[in-house]
């Protein structure tokens, strides 16, 4: 087994130790879903359709968005990376033939396997309540394009978190930056409102930003909010952003190391 395979297994074990954190996160998920249900239920009262979508379609969109976050969302990777830098733990990686990005990516993948399992569990618990509202399209291409889109979403989310974690090379405290970016990502990623409800001009700007591909894009493919042409174009833009962000992560790492001082034994 490769060294990154081992890192994945260790990551799997350590994430299972913190299973209660994921269980608590699942509980929050129920509350978020309840807020969405109450708010959008009230908005749809008397309106059969909003932006061309029924209440069921909008609720399905939010359920998929939430579940996607369990599978591809970067939760606290930025914080873990910044702690590695601040505490000097990163020094051990400088002395070994290990690529830190690949190592962190392996741990991230392990964490998503565990949180994904909790996401499925949360969905199974919620299913009796939301089953009547779920409205998923049945075209096969949606799954065929949605799965690679999810993979690229994971890469974009991780690369962004990695870059923010790297800020610890320059700043003592990065939590402010992380939460600042979280607000932007939450809004422009379509976690607050489906982005297709934005005015067309705003939507056409947002669709070229990386945040668009952090949650909305795969959810829009899977829930039928966008067609085949849009999905194919979007995949190309998403692949471009994934490439740019991975390159940026490598550049920030190299630049950060020039600032780094490894002290002690």
């Amino acid at each position: 087994m490769t060294k990154y395979g081992q890192a994945f297994l260790v990551g799997l074990q350590s994430n299972l130790v913190y299973r209660w954190n994921f269980a608590v996160r699942s509980l929050f998920w129920f509350c978020h879903l309840l807020v969405v249900f109450i708010l959008w239920g009230a908005a749809y009262a008397g309106n059969p359709s909003i932006g061309g979508y029924s209440f069921s379609q909008t609720l399905t969109y939010f359920v998929v968005i939430f579940i996607l976050q369990f599978f591809v969302g970067a939760f606290n990777e930025d914080y873990q990376i910044s702690e590695d830098i601040r505490n000097g733990l990163i020094n051990q990686f400088l002395l070994k033939p290990i690529n830190y990005f690949a190592y962190r990516m392996s741990v991230f993948a392990a964490a998503r396997v565990v949180s994904g399992a909790f996401g499925i569990l949360a969905l199974l618990v919620a299913l009796p309540f939301v089953r009547g509202y779920l409205d998923l399209p049945h075209e096969g291409w949606r799954l065929a394009l949605g799965i690679p889109a999810m993979g690229l979403t994971a890469l974009i989310q991780f690369s962004l978190a990695y870059c923010f974690g790297m800020l610890a090379f320059w700043f003592l405290e990065i939590q402010g930056f992380v939460i600042l970016s979280m607000a932007v990502e939450t809004l422009l990623g379509g976690q607050i409102v489906p982005l297709d409800l934005l005015p067309p001009a705003a939507f056409n700007v947002v669709r070229f930003l990386p945040f668009f591909y952090q949650a909305y894009f795969p959810a829009a493919i899977l829930t039928g909010r966008q067609g085949l042409d849009f999905a194919l174009q979007g995949l190309a833009i998403q692949a471009f952003w994934a490439f740019v962000l991975v390159c940026l992560a490598e550049a920030v790492w190299r630049r950060g190391l020039r600032h780094h001082t490894a002290a002690g034994g």
Partner: protein, 265 residues
Amino acid sequence: MDSLSRYLRIWLASARYSLVRATMFRGDLFIWASVELLWISVNVIMVAVIYSHTRSVAGWSMYEMLLLVGTSMLIQRFLMGFFWSGIFEMGRNVRSGLFDFVLAQPGDPLFMASTRKLELDGLLNAVVAAALVVYSVRKLGLHPGAGAIALYACMIACGVVIHYSALVIAMSLSFWITSSQGVEGSYFTLMEFSRLPREAFGRLTSILFVWVLPVVVVSNAPAREILHGFQPWWALGLLAATGAWLALAVAVFRSGLRRYTSASS
């Protein structure tokens, strides 16, 4: 009276220390103030997008909804500004034994723990939330008199006390359990409900979020007072909830404190 002026002097000393500290880390203050401003903006954009597709949510117009969101934000920002850091550190200090430091100070432990730090960024954004309230009131063509404004301010104060009490109860759990992780997340999740109109809740959800946990009443009562004038039942309900939650918080804190066995706990 002497005791009150002594506590005021202690609080002023803490406030002065916090202000000096905030001006020392100006970059940090700027980042955190931006974070809070961005979250307020995210909520305003969400309301604007929803209302671009519908005229009413649970009978509330867009500016009525913005008034509710502004009121909820105002309460949250005051809580963050005056109490958040102190109470949040309490959980960590109880585990590490650093709570001894609070007990050694010349005052009531709950007061000393809660008022140690003032967060300037939260208070700066309270001004933004207040501006949102004023803007909404003007757009609604309302002209509340001095009495109505004073009553609104009292209701906001009651809201802050209720939120403060809930947070103290949650953080006091660290006297019994080793980890109070997730408390921050649970607080912000519950706050989402406070931005929803009372009329949007169904019978079942009302029991939990209106009657058991006063998250909805806290924000709806002051907003309704501005919109519809003095409503005795809402005012009395809020006052009763404030007294009950504060008494419960003090009781839970004191009960927890009896379990505290200093640095070895």
